[in-house]
Symmetry: C2
Subunit: 198 residues, 2 copies
């Protein structure tokens, strides 16, 4: 009887440990992820799975858009040659050569509320931030490199990816497995907060 209790006790401890460890992998606290997110430019060159990219894209499409117009679309890239072709015409995207994937957040003013280019850009930007947070939550690294508002960069991205004329590529988000020790910046400044009035 006593032996049975001792065995039950240790099995209970073991199971609790397993449950706890599993939760630890699955759950990534929102505030921790928001504060841990950083611009990662050092990747190992390892691939990023389509299943991870799908989770990241789903997170992007969970962002709000003005009057729910969802003027966005996304190009998700895993092919080495396309990543290199993008890099070849972009001034600040060398990290693509070691990235495992990239997502281009696109937006179409004609599909946005009041056909507003401002709304289209803001809607897509919010999706972009969700994407950056999802990348961090999956323990991957990412960095937003701007395409918009630079005409030459947008033209290059559109040419390589065959993006239609009326669509704006907002950015190229490089995604990869972390190679370095990129650290988040502490940007909290009390003087940027005005309580009640300016």
């Amino acid at each position: 009887m006593m032996k049975r209790i001792v065995i039950t006790f240790f099995m209970c401890l073991l199971m609790a440990g397993l449950v706890y460890a599993k939760e630890d992998v699955k759950m990534k606290d929102t505030f921790s992820v928001i504060h841990a997110r950083k611009s990662v430019r050092n990747f190992t060159g390892a691939t990023v799975s389509k299943s991870d990219l799908d989770k990241i894209l789903k997170a992007g499409m969970a962002a709000p858009t003005a009057v729910n117009m969802q003027p966005w679309s996304f190009v998700a890239i895993t092919e080495r040659k396309i990543l290199d072709d993008l890099d070849a015409g972009l001034p600040y995207a060398k990290m693509l050569t070691k990235a495992g994937a990239a997502i281009i957040v696109c937006t179409e003013p004609d599909k946005a509320y009041e056909k507003s280019k401002d709304m289209a850009i803001i809607d897509a930007a919010l999706a972009g931030e969700n994407i950056l947070l999802a990348i961090e939550a999956l323990d991957l690294g990412g960095v937003w490199t701007a395409a918009y508002p630079y005409p030459d960069r947008m033209k290059h991205v559109k040419t390589v990816l065959k993006i239609p004329e009326e669509v704006i590529p907002l950015n190229v988000i490089a995604i990869g497995v972390l190679a370095g020790q990129d650290k988040p910046k502490d940007k909290y400044k009390k003087e940027n907060i005005h309580w009640e009035k300016w």
Copy 2:
């Protein structure tokens, strides 16, 4: 001896339960929060604490900005009269009358990379999305009502809050305790994803 083991066993279960319950309150999984976030317009009228607002503002300032320029600033409002004054001149901000607080995300093109208004708007938009996610993570409700790009709304917000001429108020984010049953929208659409090329 056996009594002692039985007592230890149940105390162990109790402690594990307490630890687990505490974690459940503290941790809010990032993907769950991203997908649970919704535009909340039904508030109870209860106040929102400055400590919660500070957490929300810190999350906002953790967003990336182009070349780390941080062109943003934030007006955080808890006073009933100011919330009502804002509502009085805004067409889609009636929920402010029952909100406990509001945050206005502001941005200043002169402080942005290359003094670009586009960069200033995008940087501030990303902070705004972090703010919306932080609100959800704290089990509060929030909704982004646009100030930019509407000249009349921006003028009203600037007048009420004494915001300097050169500063753009991007939005008025109403924040409050949930009164209704607002549900997140499922906006995931496979056709919005283009794999490898458009």
